[in-house]
């Protein structure tokens, strides 16, 4: 059933994302084309260039705002409006429902980032010698591989920890949206308003604990606990602490959403 849920979740969200990405590319291309005529010294030419560039920058930020909004809108609409009458009477578990929405939201978030970076490449076409850039990137890559090998296995551990941290943070940011709506629907009235309140409430709590952890970690005496700790090992431990904290935060959002949706759904 999860694969079917994923299929429909994908269809329902793709119809928003594809036009958004299309618009971003269109603005990037239009902006880039307008620069082809920059030798023509004309006020309107300048106005056009600036307008298109501003439009592009606006769309660039817009992609991320839209990603957030579409994820939130889809979740609310599909769960807590009239559509919820169908969603909650499908023979699927709440766990599967949430997993499908989480996976698709995660994929779109990653796509939006890739697309945004790619749009910059479009804008720079012809201005930058890509072969030199690739050459330099290749050198950086070689250097990186060398450094990774030199500091192995510590380097691999740190890299793994870093990637996991980014993935978990992204999952937590999506689950935070879900948890907010799950809390927001508890009273039955003012669902959206309460969800927005819950979202900021979660943010404040998260900031508080995040800052506390950040303030404490430098003062911990690692050598007492890990007598062999030095340099890179300290980094590993700090990252591990952050990873555990992030895991706890992510799990809390997930469990809160799951429990509320399983036990307290009251569609009115």
């Amino acid at each position: 059933m999860l694969s079917k849920l994923l299929k429909y979740e994908w269809k329902a969200t793709a119809r928003f994302f594809l036009p958004i990405y299309g618009l971003l590319f269109a603005m990037a291309v239009a902006s880039r084309i307008s620069w082809l005529f920059s030798e023509v010294d004309n006020v309107w030419n300048r106005v056009l260039e600036i307008t298109l560039l501003m439009g592009y920058i606006f769309m660039f930020g817009g992609v991320f705002v839209a990603t957030f909004l579409v994820i939130a809108y889809r979740f609310y609409k599909n769960m807590f409006t009239d559509e919820g009458y169908l969603t909650f009477t499908l023979p699927v578990s709440v766990g599967n429902l949430l997993t499908s929405k989480l996976i698709i939201a995660f994929i779109w978030s990653v796509f939006s980032t890739i697309i945004a970076v790619f749009s910059i490449v479009i804008l720079m076409l012809g201005y930058v010698q890509f072969d030199t850039i690739f050459q330099q990137l290749g050198m950086v890559w070689d250097e990186l591989v060398r450094a990774m090998a030199e500091y192995a296995p510590h380097s691999w551990l740190i890299l793994t920890e870093g990637i996991l941290l980014v993935i978990l943070a992204l999952i937590a940011s999506i689950l935070r949206i879900f948890a907010s709506f799950a809390v927001g629907q508890l009273t039955g009235k003012h669902k959206v308003l309460l969800a927005i309140g819950a979202y900021f409430g979660f943010g404040v709590v998260e900031q508080f604990f995040g800052l506390t952890v950040l303030m404490i970690t430098p003062y911990l005496n690692y050598r007492e606990v890990f007598p062999d700790a030095y340099g890179i090992v300290t980094g590993e431990i700090v990252l591990l602490v952050l990873l555990i904290v992030q895991l706890v935060v992510t799990a809390i959002y997930g469990v809160v959403t799951w429990v509320l949706m399983k036990r307290n759904v009251n569609l009115q």
Binding site: E83, G84, F88, T89, V92, S93, G188, V265
Partner: protein
Amino acid sequence: MNPILECRNLNKHFQGTIALQNINLQVPRGRIVGLLGPNGSGKTTLIKLANGLLQPSAGQILIDGMAPGIETKRIVSYLPERTYLSEWMTVRQVIDFFADFYADFNRDKAYDMLTRLGLQSTARLKTLSKGTKEKVQLILVMSREAQLYLLDEPIGGVDPAARDYILHTIIGNYNPNATVIISTHLISDIENVLDDVIFISRGEIVLQSNVDDIRETQGKTVDALFREVFRC
């Protein structure tokens, strides 16, 4: 065999107001049951509880002996009193959707009914009128070979001709072991198809009876009895 629907001391209240009070009910299999009551009597609340869209405040509601969950959703076909389909989908897409999720969905039956009611499967739902959407929903719900059909106001929004066709479909198309519960206040329209009636008033069951008994022992139609019981 256990009853398809059973309520044991079922209570539901919403922030101070009592929607259902101490409901004890057993609905057997193979019946067409009218759940009748004035507006706000608790018909929709009872049906939503049976679908797991609301959680009981106290007591139990059981479908085929089970609390509402994945297993009961497989065997219950529910028509809510509102339109729950995604507006951006076409009729064909929602048929695929139902076929994907409900193993008991009969695609041929759905297309057959669409043709009979003159509906286009390529139409997007947002282009359809409210009454047409209701027809599409009813077709989807009745195209399942479920054990329990919960129809909340199924004929309220459609024209009398379609109403006849729909009622005909309900009695003609379902499996004899399945039970259909129809909530409505349009009693005279459905009276002839009902086997049993449940009268509900202010969150309490005031009568559960066989339609023939009402006619024979009281010498009245259900509609007349309803007007008598619920006289304002």
